[in-house]
Symmetry: C2
Subunit: 300 residues, 2 copies
């Protein structure tokens, strides 16, 4: 454990010179109990062990269609053309993600407060929660680029000042996820290990890292060791299903050469008891649209 | 049907200016009968409909290990360092494929004459067969590049002068194929359609096309139409299983960011009644190590 300039002890040091190591996570994965919300005891135990859980049909087909239309509308909105919250593919320039999307879309703002989503996030984190990040992702067919293995928490800790991995992401599929169109891969159980990453964080790193991550990337040796220990699970399933996954689970995705696009809504809930401090391994915090600093608890 | 300079009618014109089209294939997929070899009637009928069939455990675990060691030996052989038959990854320079491999390896030369392989090829093609191409493929973990949708026959016809799609490929897995480590995807039934491709063939096209194909690539509209009609099947299974697939089936593969490499032996059998002519849409034929011109029937 190292001590920051601010005097805060850092249980998860990263972006270090020298040889990064695998550290045991000290914090729990699940903070709440079965009696606290809609997740039953068996699912909660499985989430605790694997670092993720799936809710089939969280959205109805009609809801999927409504959200899909919302995504189409947003990606074509000329008012968002030059908006920094819109991230484009490096090569094709197509829209890849739109951040802070609950502020741009009324129905997504409703979704983050929907009990099907909010109550599960509160239950897993065992407290009130606020939004650390929201976005919609578009992976086009034919040329959709994947994302190499990483832990979200590693970045949120280093660049946003999130103290502990007491955050959970909810990814809601708006398209069918096949095994072959770039669906999310996770290493179940890997959330129990914090993988230190080598190297210093470049200034304004987020401007490139949202398209292709070069800092905060685990070594191939560490990815190999984690795969040997945990194996790989892939998130497949029909549009409308939701994946809740731990902020520190090792995950990635392949590219997509099929004609089937892949889109999802991505919501990150953080415990109000885990509010952001100063970045643990970067010069200045990332902008609010990537790492929210309004810690007001979400209410229905 | 167009007429070549040589006076040979061309049922499969491609690399054309203007708007390429989808053409119905006139030739059969399966030329032999169940009584001709080891493939039973049901499997043969399925191969006819889908354009592929799978033989689980064609190689025993001990054989897989022997062939795997052979691949390791070949890729490390300094005598092959500058050999044109060795194709390397564009970025990493790692070995991607070794062509003409039955001439470089005694045990692979035995394999092409093995009744488990040869008798099936003869049965599907309904005649004596010879080797159009052999190679071993290495797809490394972490950075293995995939291959975009294509028909092999389109290239063999245009650049090698193969008259008809009376050829079959046999891909034998030497590593386990998961859904997520870049396994082959095929569109079942697509072998019944010849997808014309636009554009002229550049000189010495093979020097680049073996790494990344830019000519002989179907349009996205055609790939979308074929996927809508046929769907996508993925070749997964244990090391030692074999996939026999039609020369004209539309297939491709995604990239591989997992730590699990993927290797296979790839053998292309052509009917002796379908021997190569001059290229149908290229200046000069490709070299012998890519498109064999020894039409002597293979014997055990």
């Amino acid at each position: 454990m190292t001590l920051m300039d601010t005097g805060v002890a850092d249980a998860y040091p990263t972006r270090i010179p020298g040889n990064p190591e695998l550290l045991d996570r000290t914090d729990p994965t699940v903070w709440g109990a079965a009696s606290d919300g809609p997740i039953d005891a068996a699912t909660l135990a499985s989430h605790d062990a694997k670092g993720y859980s799936i809710v089939e049909g969280l959205l109805s087909p009609a809801e999927v269609q409504a959200y899909w239309q919302e995504l189409v509308r947003l990606s074509a909105d000329p008012a968002l053309n030059a908006d920094e919250r819109v991230i484009r593919e490096k090569q094709s320039r197509g829209v890849r993600s739109i951040f802070d999307v609950h502020r741009l879309s009324e129905i997504i703002d409703e979704l983050v407060r929907d009990p099907r989503v909010l109550d599960r996030a509160r239950q897993i984190l065992g407290s009130d929660v606020y939004l650390h990040q929201t976005r919609v992702n578009y992976m086009p067919g034919f040329k959709g680029a994947g994302f190499y293995w990483h832990s979200d928490f590693e970045t949120w800790h280093a660049e946003d000042g999130m103290p502990s991995p007491r955050a959970v992401s909810c990814s809601i599929a708006l398209t069918d996820n096949y095994p072959f169109n770039g669906g999310l891969m996770v290493m179940p159980g890997s959330q129990r290990t914090f993988i230190q990453c080598a190297g210093e964080t470049p200034e304004d790193n987020y401007k490139n890292s949202l398209k292709e991550q070069k800092t905060g990337v685990p070594s191939e040796d560490h990815v190999t060791a984690m795969a040997a220990e945990h194996g790989i699970d892939q998130f497949t399933g029909q549009a409308g299903s939701a994946l809740f996954f731990d902020s520190n689970i090792l995950h990635g995705s392949g590219n997509n050469i099929t004609p089937y696009p892949r889109s999802n809504i991505f919501l990150v809930f953080n415990s109000v008891e885990n509010a952001l401090l100063q970045p643990f391994a970067a010069g200045k915090p990332r902008p609010d649209f990537i790492a929210g600093r309004d810690f007001t608890p979400l209410r229905r």
